[in-house]
């Protein structure tokens, strides 16, 4: 009940925020929207299938670079970018997933980490293709066929783009909600709890994990596209392992057992980062300490604190 009231209040706050005349906070939230979508995908793997990926940043970067490459080719429509990122992510995730889903626990984590670092070194070293450490520019895209050229950058980001990104988050959350409550989601959950039993019930463990991996990658790439539009830059650090670590951090902070934990985690992480960074240059220390406390004492994250009784099933 509390969660529902808070959720409605938070959603209303997010919708009304651009009207409050605080462009700084409004632009601050834009990366949180991108992260929220990527984390919804990551959580299908971790909360859903029990696989903790340390290479999810690969797909976020893939989305970001897809947007950058399309910009270079003269494509301006954000819808085309999102669709292309989703298709590319799915086709990259399929072969990687086939190799990764045979493993669980730490081996899955290390293997996904290695793939992420592989992509990072590609982006970092192949200067002529990817721009190396300078990254690639992403020019302001066209939303739903509206050029909106008359708006300056802040007005564009805090106005049309803010609502566009929020809309994509809502659609993504809705799709993910349908997925986790569908027979597919329930089967995944069964696999997480007891793979041997799931197998004996006729659920193809590998195939379901692979499907979850691909869906997670698509969400990651879609989030990645939304992430690079505000900054206008896709750089190799998007694929670096610490970025994957941060994604897992956000997920844990929000709470992986709750459906909306990833969204909460992304928003709180971004706001907290801004607050701590404005207080001290040693914000990494504070964040490391917070992560340690969450891992050691609050493995269920903020959602676990808000809603202690909620069963892991939803």
């Amino acid at each position: 009940m509390i969660v529902r009231v808070l959720g409605v209040a938070a959603a209303a706050a997010l919708v009304l925020l651009p009207l409050a005349g605080v462009p700084y906070t409004t632009t601050l939230l834009l990366p949180a929207f991108g992260y929220a979508i990527a984390l919804l995908g990551l959580n299908l793997l971790f909360g859903g299938a029990g696989l903790l990926s340390f290479g999810h940043a690969l797909f976020v970067a893939l989305g970001g670079y897809t947007a950058a490459v399309l910009t270079g080719l003269g494509v301006r429509s954000l819808e085309i970018m999102l669709a292309a990122a989703a298709v590319i992510a799915a086709s990259v995730a399929l072969p990687i997933g086939i190799l990764c889903v045979r493993y669980v626990k730490i081996y899955f984590g290390v293997l996904t980490l290695a793939f992420g670092m592989l992509f990072y070194s590609f982006l970092f070293k192949f200067y002529t293709l990817t721009g190396g450490d300078e990254g690639m520019r992403v020019i302001r895209p066209v939303l739903l066929g509206q050029p909106l050229a008359q708006l300056d950058k802040v007005a564009f980001l805090t106005g049309p783009f803010y609502y566009y990104a929020l809309g994509v988050v809502i659609v993504a959350a809705f799709v993910m909600r349908r997925l986790v409550t569908s027979p597919f989601g329930l089967s995944l959950h069964c696999i997480r709890e007891n793979p041997a039993k799931a197998e004996s019930l006729g659920i193809s463990v590998h195939r379901y994990r692979l499907a979850a991996f691909v869906v997670a990658a698509v969400f990651g790439a879609v989030g990645g596209v939304l992430l690079v539009v505000p900054t206008g830059l896709a750089d190799p650090l998007l694929a670096y392992w610490t970025h994957s670590g941060n994604l897992v951090f956000m997920l844990l902070l929000g709470g992986f057992e709750h459906f909306l934990g990833p969204v909460l985690g992304a928003v709180v992480f971004i706001l907290l980062q801004d607050a701590v960074m404005s207080l001290t240059a040693y914000w990494r220390f504070v964040f490391g300490a917070i992560l340690a406390v969450v891992v050691l004492f609050f493995p269920r994250g903020l959602m676990g604190l808000l809603d202690p009784r909620r069963s892991p099933a939803s």
Binding site: I106, V110, A114, M117, L252, A281, A289, A292
Partner: protein
């Protein structure tokens, strides 16, 4: 993380001091181990996460004490001079590092294979409950092994500093490479770790000499290859 710590000491003037600095930092081992203890029973993924948290924290601790500028010890590297081997001139310091690596590997092998402590460690790795039932104090074994790991990490970090420089981020880069090394060799295998380190080192050196773009790439290709073809690592059969 520990490498960077060992690396951060700019006071060290010459080789023995570098080693001593590494050893002294061993005192950090027990408290960190104590912090990690509650999650031994949980999924290893959480241990990986907690390590990530510690990396974040140590990076800032180093930044706080030593600032962000790289620290160099150029004079130490040159003070050792060079040796001519045939037509090649090799910096003596490089040979010292190689000799230290071999000596430490030998000492570790002796420690694990020949001493009482080594037998207990191997027994613990093999079967924790059984070792505990035989009267082994698990908490103490863990503390000691972890501290030993810290010491080796810091000594290793200290050794590379004269040749390069102590940089803030070195811990972050090294930690993934260390993972790569251990995975290639096989988790829990000493010989494997040694072989993995050699493979990664040589591959990187060859790549830099022939095709610099693939330096990092090649390491991860090997990791993925090993994990896919021999998930238990190249030296899976070896114990301890």
């Amino acid at each position: 993380m520990r490498w960077a710590l060992g690396a951060g000491l700019p006071t060290a003037g010459f080789f023995p001091v570098l080693l001593a600095a590494g050893l002294v930092l061993g005192v950090l081992g027990p408290p960190i181990e104590r912090l990690l203890r509650p999650i031994y029973d949980r999924d290893e993924s959480f241990q990986l996460l907690l390590t990530f948290a510690l990396v974040l924290m140590f990076e800032d601790v180093i930044r706080f004490f030593w600032g962000t500028a790289p620290h160099q010890l150029g004079n130490v590297y040159l003070a050792y001079g060079t040796i001519r081997v045939g037509a090649l001139s090799v910096p003596t310091y490089n040979l010292v590092v190689i000799a230290s690596g071999a000596a430490i590997a030998g000492a570790m092998g002796w420690l694990l294979a020949r001493t009482r402590f080594g037998r207990i460690v191997r027994a613990t790795a093999e079967n924790r409950e059984m070792a505990e039932a035989m009267g082994v104090d698990m908490a103490r074994v863990y503390t000691r092994v972890f501290t030993l790991g810290v010491v080796l990490g810091t000594v290793g970090g200290a050794l590379v500093i004269p040749a390069t420089a102590a940089v803030n981020e070195m811990g972050i880069d090294v930690i993934v490479e260390a993972f790569a090394v251990v995975v290639i060799g096989g988790l829990g295998s000493m010989r494997g770790a040694f072989a993995g380190a050699l493979i990664v080192g040589v591959v990187k050196a060859v790549a830099i000499a022939t095709w610099p773009e693939v330096e990092m790439l090649a390491v991860y290709v090997i990791v993925i290859g090993v994990l896919v073809l021999r998930p238990a690592g190249l030296f899976a059969k070896a114990t301890a």
